[in-house]
Symmetry: C2
Subunit: 173 residues, 2 copies
């Protein structure tokens, strides 16, 4: 258990945001901590969905469907995001959780599925031992202001877009 | 197994480089791949050393000692880095490995423990199905040129340095 949990933001247009959150999750699990990952926007069959098979103290939930990012939000997207946020609100009140990851929450805010001010208020009231991670492009200013640590993952070179390749199993998803 | 392995570089002064490599490792493991992580410079008791307990198809080795970064390299550092590089050369010839991570190799190059041109030559000769990841600040130009993907982790806010706090178990190590 941490003495004092911090708030971390991984943002930017480069690869490695969700990946770094996953890495932090497993490092924390290896240290004996309890970790919950909530993935907004996402409802795809990512490899990482199998991660809880390897760690007793990890839960992973998805609050989205298919490949949201490239289309206009529908009522269902709003409902899924909103239900996801309520679940995260409950986790934020559970002092047994050491690390709580809001994956792609920044994108959910950018698309107005979620109000970042509501998230900030929830996070501020969490048990003081809980570390919180917020990921995704377009981190809202409210999250930057709240955070103790912000890393921008900046794309310098990217074959996935530049060379028009498809996402690869076990690497991108 | 990948059809065509790429070369990825995670560099920059921000948090999340080794962490993203760990995340990629577990995602790849969840997809059934075989992964080897070689950590240069490092010889500390990081939480992630326990990761192979959770995954049969993962090996993790350290080719350094203690906290190298803040002191001048000694003969022992050169020897450890050089022995590490020979091990990685062998892994680079093993077609059963899907993902090979050279953690902190960039720093080892910056400190002249390793010649980046030698690493580039080794990587170029690898089986074409193998993905390679190179991490650490100060990525040498040779690695940037070789890479298909380069992400710069850029520090926007960092409590660890700015607030003078100690590294925390399960988060920073």
């Amino acid at each position: 258990m941490l003495e004092e949990g911090k708030v971390q933001v991984y943002t930017g247009n480069g690869k490695g945001k969700t990946t770094a959150a996953l890495g932090l999750a497993v490092r924390s699990l290896c240290a004996g901590n309890k970790v919950v990952i909530g993935q907004f926007i996402k409802g795809m069959d990512y490899s990482e969905l199998k991660l809880p098979d390897h760690f007793d103290r990890l839960s992973l939930e998805q609050f989205g469907r298919d490949c949201f990012v490239y289309r206009k939000p529908t009522d269902q997207d709003y409902q899924l995001a909103s239900r996801g946020l309520e679940k995260m609100r409950a986790y934020l009140q559970d002092p047994s959780i050491d690390l709580l990851i809001f994956d792609e929450i920044n994108v959910a805010c950018e698309y107005k599925l979620i109000d970042p001010r509501e998230v900030v208020e929830m996070i501020k009231k969490r048990p003081k031992t809980m570390e919180v991670v917020l990921t995704g492009r377009y981190a809202p200013q409210e999250f930057i202001d709240l955070a103790d640590l912000v890393t921008e993952m900046k794309e310098i070179k990217h074959y996935y877009k530049q060379q028009g390749l498809k996402a690869r199993l076990g690497i991108e998803y």
